[in-house]
Symmetry: C2
Subunit: 496 residues, 2 copies
Amino acid sequence: MIEIIGPLTNQATASGAGTVGKKPAPLQKQLIERLQQAILAGRLPAGSLLPSSRLLAAEMGVSRNTVVIAYEHLAAVGYVVADKKGTRVSPLSSPAARGEHQTSPATPEAVYAARVEQFAATRTHADNTLPLTPGTPALDRFPLGAWRRALERSMERALPLALGYGAPTGEPALRDAIAAHLRMSRGVRCDGSQVVITEGAQEALNLCVRLFTNPGDIAWVEDPGYRGAKAAFNLGDLTTLPMPVDLEGIAVPPDAWRTHSPKLIYTSPAHQYPTGSVLSVARRLALIAQARRSGAWLIEDDYDGEFRHTGEPIASLQGLVPDAPVLYVGSFSKTMFPALRIGFVVLPGAIAGHAAVALQEMLRGGHRLEQLALAHFIESGEFGRHLGRMRRLYRERQQALRDALTAHFEPSQILGGNCGMHLTLRLPPHLSDQVLAERALAERLNPRALSGFALQPREETNGLVIGYGSTPAEQLAPAIGVLASLAGEMAGARVV
Amino acid sequence: MIEIIGPLTNQATASGAGTVGKKPAPLQKQLIERLQQAILAGRLPAGSLLPSSRLLAAEMGVSRNTVVIAYEHLAAVGYVVADKKGTRVSPLSSPAARGEHQTSPATPEAVYAARVEQFAATRTHADNTLPLTPGTPALDRFPLGAWRRALERSMERALPLALGYGAPTGEPALRDAIAAHLRMSRGVRCDGSQVVITEGAQEALNLCVRLFTNPGDIAWVEDPGYRGAKAAFNLGDLTTLPMPVDLEGIAVPPDAWRTHSPKLIYTSPAHQYPTGSVLSVARRLALIAQARRSGAWLIEDDYDGEFRHTGEPIASLQGLVPDAPVLYVGSFSKTMFPALRIGFVVLPGAIAGHAAVALQEMLRGGHRLEQLALAHFIESGEFGRHLGRMRRLYRERQQALRDALTAHFEPSQILGGNCGMHLTLRLPPHLSDQVLAERALAERLNPRALSGFALQPREETNGLVIGYGSTPAEQLAPAIGVLASLAGEMAGARVV
C-alpha cells in the first residue's frame, strides 16, 4: 500500500533541525487525504479491497486506531464501503478514474446572464476620495465622537440580544425615528410601520422592483439620470425607457402613457440627478394622477433633498396629496456616511401591512447596533445639528466652486446648485466630456462625464458633473484651474 | 386673501399662557403652505392674480420680505408664474382643482408582482430567541469583549477613511482572511480575489442567480431543503425543480439532466439541511462531471460545515477536483452572530476577474469597520478559538438533546447530528408536524415543522427540526418533556 499512497510525514521528524515552514498535518488527516487522492486518481480502483486496519497500521507506522478512524471517515463520505468481508473502494464516476481528461470550463464570456451584460463595458470605479468626486460627503467633518458614543450606548443597552436576528424590516425604533424626521423635514405622510430599512438606496430600488414588477414590465427612467435606477431595472428584467429631462424635471411625452404604459417610474423630484432641475408642481400632480389611473408606481428618490441651499425646502412628491402612488426612497449615505449602508423605502399605508409577510422572507434584518445608534442619533437631535452644519459647509464650498467655474467658463452653462453636493457644467460639442474626464483623472481630479449618465447621449448631455462635498473650498479654485487648462489644450489641439 | 388662506398663527401669541403643544412653524413656512393648499384645493384657481407682495404683507401682518420669499419658493416649484404683470397661479391638473374625486388606489392584493405571491401564505416568523429554535447560535457565549476590541482597533486605524465607499466586493483584508481560512479548514481552492463579500448567505444566493441565470432558467433545489434557496430562485424568476434527498444527500433521477437541464443546482453537501445527510463522494463526482458537461453551476452552501461533531471535517465539494463548476457560499451568521450580516461567495478563478466589473455596479461595499474587525478576528486566531469553544459547547448540548429525545421517542427516527446546531425528529403520520409545532409555540418552544422545508410534502417529511444552539443543556430535557406530552395528547385525541 505504501507504494500507492506514499509514506506519511512524521511530525516529530519534520519539526527537527533544518526543516523550514509549517508543521505537517496530523497522521490521521494525512492518511485520509492520501487515500482519497489515490481513490480519486484511480490508483485504487473501484472494488479493490483495502488492507485490514491492523495490516495498514503496521505498514504505515501508525496506530491501528488512526486507520480505523480514517476508514470510518472515508465510509461516511462514500469513498469506501465496509461490510463483513472488509473495506472496499466504492464505484465512483471520477473522470480521472475512467482515464478521461477534464473538459475545460466554458469560456468566462459565455457564462454570464444576459442581465449582466449591461455592465460589461462599464469603466472601473475611480478613487472616490479624489477632489471633485460627486456624491462623496465631507467625511472629515462627520461628528465621529458623537457617533461612537451612540454606538457605545446601543452596545451597553442592547447586547447580547442585538447580536441575534432582528426584524427583517429593520429596528422599530429606527423606523419610527425616520418616519418622524421625514414628516417634519420632508412633508412625507407616513408612520414607522410604512418604513422598510434597506442596505442603502440601491437595495431600496431593488426591493421596489421585486415587490411591484414582473419581468418584461416597462419602467421609465430620467435621462440623463441616476445609473443605479437603470441597473436595478435591468437586474429585474424590466424594459427600461428613457424619459427626457428639462428645467422642470422629467418631461413625459403625451402619448407615452398610452403607448408604453409603465409599471415603475423613477424620479428625483427635489433635485434631478445630475441636471439639478426641480420637478414642477404641475408635473407632480399630472404624474400622480396618471400613475393612479394606470396602476403605475412613482419612485421618488429623495437622495439629497436634505441639502437644500436656497429658500425653503421643496416638500416631497409623496406628501403632495393623500395616498399618492409613491414609493419614497432615501438613504443616509450622504447625510451620515456611505459605509453605514442604511437606506429605506416608505411604502404606501395601504400596502405596508400586506407587504410585511413577503418582506419577512425577502429581507434579513441585522446591523442592529448601527440601526439603534442611528435611531438615537436622530431622536437626540444630533442628526439635525449635523445636517445644519453640513448645509452651511456645502453652501460655502458651492459658492467657491461657482466662483472658480465662472472665472474660466460661461456662467450660463453651470446648472444646478439648489440642492446637494455637485454642480453640472455643460461643455461645447467640440470638447468631449469623456476625454476631459479621463485627462482630469490622470491629474488626480475626479469629475464625472455627464454623458455617462445618459441612456441616449445628446448635445445637452456633454458636460461634467463636479462634486464639492469632499473637496475643501481652498482646493476648488486650483482644481478648476487645472480643468480649464486641460479644456484649453483640447480646444487648441482641435485647431491644429 | 385672508378669507381664502386663513390667518397665520403668530409665534409670540401662540407661545403665551394657556397654549399647549408645539411651537407653530415660522410665518414664511406657514404662508407657503397655506398658499400651496389653496392652489391645490382649487380655492385659488389657475390664472388668478395674487396680490402684490406689499399688499399681501400688509393684509397678513408679515414683513414684505416674507411674502417675496414665499412667492419665489412657489415659483421655483411651479405653483405660480411671475412676470411683469404680477404673480399668477399656474394651470395645474389637480383633480381637486378640477372637482374630481380621487380614485382609490388599486386593492393591495392586486398590485404585487407574481414573484412575490410565493410568500403570501407564509406564516410570520416566531421569536428566534425561544428554546429549540433551529439556526440561532449561543449568543450569550459570543466573545463580546474580544469583538469590541477588534472593532475599536479598526476604528483607531481606519477612521475617518473607512466611512467612505469601500471596494464593492468587500475589504481586501477580509477577502484574504476568508480565503486563507477556507483553504485550511474547508479544503476550498481559492485566493482572496475569488471571494466576494455579501450581506449574508441569502444575498450570496441572490448574487449567484443574478450573475449566472436568465428568467425561465431551471434551478434544482434539495427537497426538503433550505427555504432561502427557493426564495432566491423565485425572485430571479427561475423555474425551481425539487430534487429528493436520501441518506447520501441530493438524489438526482438519471433522466433529469436531459429532460430538465439545470442552470443552477443548490446543495448543502457537508450537512444537508434539514435532514443532516452527507453528500457521498460518488454523487459529488457525478454532480461535478454532469454540471461541467451541461454548463450548470453547483451552489455549495456550506452553512454549518464549521461545526462538525464527529470525526474529521468533511472537505468541501468545491475543492474536490480542480476548477470544479462550484459557487461556494458561506456566512458568519452562525459562526459569529446573525446581526453581523457578513456572508460570501467564492467564484471560480476563471470567472472572478471577468465578474469584477459587473460586481462593481451590482454591489456597494460598506460596513467597512465590521469587515476590517472580522479580518483581524480571523487572522489573530480569535475566530478559530471561538469556533473550538462553540464546537465543544454544541457537542454537549446535542448529547443532552439526544438523550432527552431518546427517553421519549424512537431513536431510529432521530436524524442528523454530524454537524451543526439541530437534530431532526421524524414523526409518525398520525402526528401532524404543523399542529405539534404550533402547540409547542403556544408553550414558548420553537421547533420547526419539517414539512415546512418541503416543496412536495411526503410521509418522510413529517417531523420536527429541533435546535440546540441557543438552548442551554439543562433546559433541553424539560423542553423535550413538554414536546412529548403534547405529542401524547395529540395521539390520545386521535383514539377518542
